[in-house]
């Protein structure tokens, strides 16, 4: 039933708007002449964009700010990395384990923190949680390698009857590119199905008026925990991908609050509560920053100014502009 509802929203114009970027993204490796630089850039955009969409599932559809998002992303990455290096499991299995670990963490944190009625207290609690995961990775040097970082193997190559997908050589980005594209598309489809389904409508009802939703007999606590857990699960899966793609994890990069802030900026600039907005936001932010690479020290100043300007003048982000261009919805 969820599927039919999902398809019902998909008229021909929408289909075109969705299909064109996907086709474009499919051909980017060819168009760029198999350039590893461009592929890496687009992989980053997709990765952050998918993270931002998952983040938006809680921020835009439920109005709860998961300020420890990087913690869940990093926890998934570390769990996947540790399972493959310390336990010697296959990277594919460890990847799933990473996702499951983040999902579990999200469930526990959600059960605890969503008992707060105040959204601000919730945001702070998740922030503490993320910082604690980071701190544990700093101080538990025997397990995580601390500041030196954790080296992780690449994904193993897959042998198909006619050809071999070469994951083992990270310098060849193409297999990773298509893997990331697949994750991004399937995640967004999954998130859309959730959002358009009955439970998605429940989320919006809670966001708009929690007390009214409660009076209608909605178990708001359960819906919130579910939403939070899904969002954390996606973060963990992408963390697992990051772990095998980049090859080195350090608490400074995957677990820092800066990462959460980046994702937050993308969601705000793209527009909350749309799912496609954050993805677009990530492309805009990352490509803009790449264009101004020499000013790398001032990168976060740029983020800060963007955030403040968006916040005061365009609280709806880019998705607010959409209605001037495209009158539907």
């Amino acid at each position: 039933m969820a599927k039919r509802r999902f398809l019902k929203h998909l008229d021909s114009r929408h289909a075109l708007v969705i299909a064109l970027p996907i086709i474009f993204l499919l051909f980017i490796p060819v168009l760029s002449g198999w350039s590893t630089y461009i592929m890496h850039l687009v992989i980053s955009c997709l990765m952050y964009g998918t993270l931002a969409s998952a983040f938006d599932l809680s921020l835009g559809y439920l109005g709860i700010l998961n300020f420890g998002f990087a913690g869940f992303f990093g926890a998934g990455a570390y769990a996947a990395g540790l399972a493959s290096t310390k336990l010697g499991l296959s990277p594919w299995v460890s990847w799933l384990l990473g996702g499951a670990f983040s999902c579990l963490l999200g469930l526990v944190t959600g059960l605890l923190a969503l008992r707060f009625k105040s959204k601000l207290v919730f945001a702070m609690f998740t922030w503490f949680f993320g910082l604690t995961i980071q701190q544990i990775c700093y101080v538990w040097i025997d397990l995580t390698g601390g500041m030196r970082g954790l080296l992780t193997p690449p994904l193993p190559s897959v042998k198909l009857p006619f050809f071999e997908i070469n994951f083992a050589d990270r310098a060849i980005r193409t297999p990773y590119y298509y893997t990331m594209l697949m994750i991004a598309i399937s995640t967004l489809v999954l998130l859309y199905m959730i959002v358009k389904s009955r439970i998605g409508i429940t989320f919006k009802a809670i966001r708009d008026d929690e007390i009214a939703a409660e009076m209608l007999g909605i178990d708001t606590y359960r819906a919130k925990v579910l939403n939070f857990t899904i969002s954390c699960f996606v973060a963990g899966i992408i963390g697992g991908f990051y772990c095998f793609y980049i090859g080195v994890l350090s608490p400074d990069t995957v677990l820092s609050t800066d990462l959460t802030v980046q994702i937050l900026t993308m969601s705000y600039i793209g527009g909350r509560g749309t799912l496609w907005g954050p993805l677009l936001g990530s492309f805009i932010v990352i490509l803009l920053l790449e264009a101004f690479r020499p000013l790398i020290i001032y990168r976060l100043i740029f983020y800060g100014c963007l955030l403040i300007l968006t916040m005061i003048f365009f609280p709806k982000g880019i998705s607010g502009i959409k209605k001037y261009i495209w009158k539907s919805q």
Binding site: F116, F125, I297, G304, P315
Partner: protein, 297 residues
């Protein structure tokens, strides 16, 4: 027998380090609780007021050779002005234009402001630790213990600031107006209080406390772009556990926090202090989940 004496000595020494570390949490937590209670926002930029205070005190003391007490006084006035401006220029428009979700937006805005300031400091002043070795040399002999004059000064100054702040809130007309706004905005407005004015003033007072903390503890913590983040984190823990209604809660909680963290660092190792404080927050959350909201109501 002698081992006992040595251990006692160590414990007392740790306690004193913990209390002087607690002074910064007390001042930070008081300011945070004020903004949370009156303006109803969580101020992530609070750490930056601390940083500004520390840098400003550094420049005053090391370049102009000012007396530390005068320097701290100047820093306090300056921080008040910055907090007042911040509220008027950024938070005020957001409150007017922000609509229903302005609380979450304000959190993100203070975050953006904090990032800008941290990175401006990083870009223009650089990542080096700027500090003065001491404000005053010398030790004080108290009941057979050697205490450095500075640490005694920190503690006395913090307690003094706490008492002055308490007096300000309880007895002065402005303080009563601030408490009125914290209790009930509509009632306060109806009784003729200019709430915009009160919001700006309380932001300024809060920034003043943070700036004072930064200036006061400059010899201990030095000034660097992210020097305010750790105190902010612990101050958050203090007010989550202690609540925001009672002025005494941040004071007692802040000192307790300093002592607990010092003990954690010395017995478990560097870095475990945060893990311990997180465990405390989680426990507080499990035992009394609605404490802070009851007070916030």
């Amino acid at each position: 027998m002698q081992r006992d004496a040595v251990m006692l000595d160590t414990i007392i020494r740790l306690l004193i380090i913990g209390i002087s570390r607690g002074t910064m949490y007390v001042l930070m937590a008081l300011g945070l609780a004020l903004i949370w209670g009156v303006n109803r926002i969580i101020n992530f930029a609070h750490s930056e007021f601390y940083m500004i205070g520390a840098y400003f005190a550094f420049f005053l003391v090391s370049m102009f050779n000012l007396n530390p007490v005068i320097a701290i006084f100047i820093v306090a006035c300056f921080s008040f002005a910055i907090g007042w401006l911040f509220e008027n220029v950024l938070i005020h428009p957001l409150r007017i234009l922000g609509g229903r979700e302005w609380l979450i937006n304000s959190l993100v805005l203070t975050l953006g402001f904090s990032m800008i300031l941290q990175n401006l400091a990083l870009g223009f002043i650089g990542p080096q630790f700027k500090g003065v070795p001491y404000y005053w040399k010398g030790t004080l002999n108290l009941l057979g213990m050697q205490l450095s004059v500075e640490r005694v000064f920190f503690i006395v100054a913090t307690v003094g600031a706490g008492i002055a702040y308490y007096y300000f809130l309880q007895k002065t007309k402005l303080g009563k107006a601030i408490r009125g706004v914290a209790d009930n905005v509509e009632a306060a407005q109806a009784s003729g209080i200019n709430i915009d004015h009160i919001y700006a003033i309380s932001f300024g007072v809060s920034a003043m406390l943070a700036g004072m903390a930064g200036a006061l503890l400059l010899p201990l913590t030095t000034a660097y772009p992210t020097c305010g983040v750790a105190p902010l984190y612990s101050a958050f823990v203090v007010i989550i556990i202690g609540g925001i209604r009672n002025v005494m809660a941040p004071i007692i909680g802040g000192f307790a926090m300093g002592i607990i963290e010092t003990l954690a660092v010395s017995y478990l190792g560097f870095g475990w202090d945060r893990v311990i404080s997180m465990a405390i927050v989680t426990l507080a959350l499990i035992i009394k989940p609605h404490r802070i909201e009851e007070e916030r109501a």
